[in-house]
């Protein structure tokens, strides 16, 4: 633990790195300096608050407090995933179910297999990792779904006109959308260790844990992210595609951009 030397003063000095981004933004007239500053301030405030909350939750070591953190993370992730629904009706509800089921099953498996313990310092960060990953996957699913429904709406109409049910008419889109949610995770797995030393592993190595032990955690995270993005993508896509049709199994033109 003695290797962890970051402090308020080192952070202040590290702020020079933000200045690098600001200088680039200024000289290249990118008009992003306001966004950079807001982003940095939000990151500092949000992380500070979370740091203190986590300190309190870990110290309290209470099952209900841990469960409350789980619920807050899941709702927050669902709200943000829902916003990426871009007009798809019930995007929040679909995301909530997808993230809740995906996170619960993945987390439950990890706890039941003994990979992690049901203690706040393990449950809360792992919940965050799973939920945020599903949130990103759902966002990609929704974006792909909306785009492909627009691009292929003529095909859908023709399939419906031939008497196909909405699922058969949208099967290609459904498969492509699920795949688009899972693909980034699959791609990143392929380069693990070669290009990146991901967060979990890097954090443990930073904290002085034996790298051989740290990779075991990373392998566990890999399994966990694969399962969770798969579950989140499939649930959100299966709930999402139905929204493109009305109760008479007609394509809803207002959702096609």
């Amino acid at each position: 633990m003695s290797n962890l030397t970051v402090s308020n003063s080192t952070l202040m000095l590290g702020f020079v790195l933000v200045l690098v981004a600001l200088v680039i933004g200024y000289f290249e007239k990118l008009q992003i300096n306001k966004d950079i500053l807001i982003g940095v301030i939000r990151a500092i405030v949000q992380l500070s608050i979370v740091g203190y909350i986590l300190k309190f939750v870990i110290k309290a070591d209470d099952i209900w407090l841990t469960a409350a953190c789980f619920v807050i993370i899941v709702i927050n992730a669902s709200y943000n995933a829902g916003k990426r629904g871009n007009g798809i009706p019930k995007a929040f509800q679909s995301s909530l179910l997808a993230i809740f089921v995906g996170t619960t099953i993945t987390l439950g498996t990890l706890v039941l297999t003994g990979s992690i313990k049901f203690i706040p310092e393990q449950i809360v960060p792992v919940t965050g990792m799973i939920a945020s990953n599903i949130m990103v996957a759902i966002g990609l699913c929704y974006r792909n779904m909306k785009q492909t429904f627009t691009d292929r709406h003529q095909q859908i109409l023709e399939k419906l006109a031939l008497g196909a049910d909405v699922k058969l008419a949208s099967l290609d889109i459904l498969r492509d959308s699920i795949k688009s949610g899972m693909q980034p995770t699959i791609d990143s797995i392929k380069t693990l260790g070669l290009v990146s030393l991901p967060g979990m592993m890097s954090g443990l190595i930073f904290a002085g844990v034996d790298p051989v032990k740290a990779i075991k955690y990373q392998i566990m995270v890999t399994f966990m992210l694969l399962a969770s993005t798969g579950l989140g993508s499939i649930i959100s896509c299966y709930l999402g595609y139905r929204q493109f049709f009305n109760e008479r199994k007609q394509l809803r033109n207002e959702l096609i951009s």
């Binding site: 003529q154 095909q155 109409l157 023709e158 399939k159 419906l160 006109a161 031939l162 008497g163 196909a164 049910d165 058969l168 290609d172 008479r248 199994k249 007609q250």
Partner: protein
């Protein structure tokens, strides 16, 4: 004679535009009807409503004695099939398209039957495994019509399916529709072509969203 469609006081509004205004008409079973009228008159909209691809804003459509809404949409569309002006072929090969009607009905692909239909529209069996990118516009329309007719519906609605086709393709499509009409399929055909109008039993003229004559 038995009615296949009865349309009562049907209107359709899109946004603030009234596309169809208080349409009333009856269509007898087994007839070959052409639907004519200027572009934008509401012909296609009426046909799409009859095919249950969109729903009317007000009024009612009676199909085979019952309101259209009482039928399960997929079953209804297998009985009342709609053919588009510029169809797309989906998937990679023609086979995927010709298999689709079988897939819809949870049936095995019947290659013998498909070959028969290809022959009917002057296409040889090698077309089954052709890439969808290797078929011409006219061939595409003929393949698309096989999708509609391989399990003959009670009504076939076609929306300017011969527009833009050459004489040879037009004749093939026309003969195919005639043949199925003789087998009892009611044909409702939107067209601008005078020769096609002559071949039909009746003509419906639509202008400014209203039926001019039946």
């Amino acid at each position: 004679m038995e009615k296949v469609f009865e349309v009562h006081d049907l209107s359709y509004t899109a946004g603030d535009k009234e596309i169809l205004k208080h349409i009333n008409l009856e269509i007898e079973k087994g007839k070959y009807i052409t639907v004519i009228g200027p572009s934008g008159s509401g012909k296609s909209t009426l046909m799409r409503i009859l095919a249950s691809m969109i729903s009317a804003t007000s009024g009612e459509v009676i199909f085979d004695g019952k309101r259209i809404e009482t039928y399960e949409p997929t079953t209804y569309r297998q009985r009342v099939s709609y053919a588009f002006q510029q169809p797309t072929l989906f998937g990679k090969t023609v086979r995927e398209n010709l298999n689709f009607p079988f897939e819809v009905r949870n049936l095995e692909f019947d290659e013998g039957k498909v070959k028969q239909y290809l022959k009917m529209v002057n296409l040889d069996e090698s077309y089954i495994d052709k890439s969808v990118n290797d078929v011409s516009g006219g061939e595409k329309q003929r393949i698309a019509l096989i999708r509609n007719l391989i399990f003959p519906p009670e009504v076939l609605i076609t929306d300017e399916v011969t527009a833009g086709l050459d004489v040879e393709n037009k004749t093939i499509v026309h003969e195919m529709l005639q043949q199925f009409n003789q087998q009892g399929v009611t044909i409702l055909r939107v067209t601008h072509d005078e020769s096609e109008i002559e071949a039909s039993h009746d003509t419906i003229t639509i202008k400014d969203g209203m039926v001019q004559n039946v």
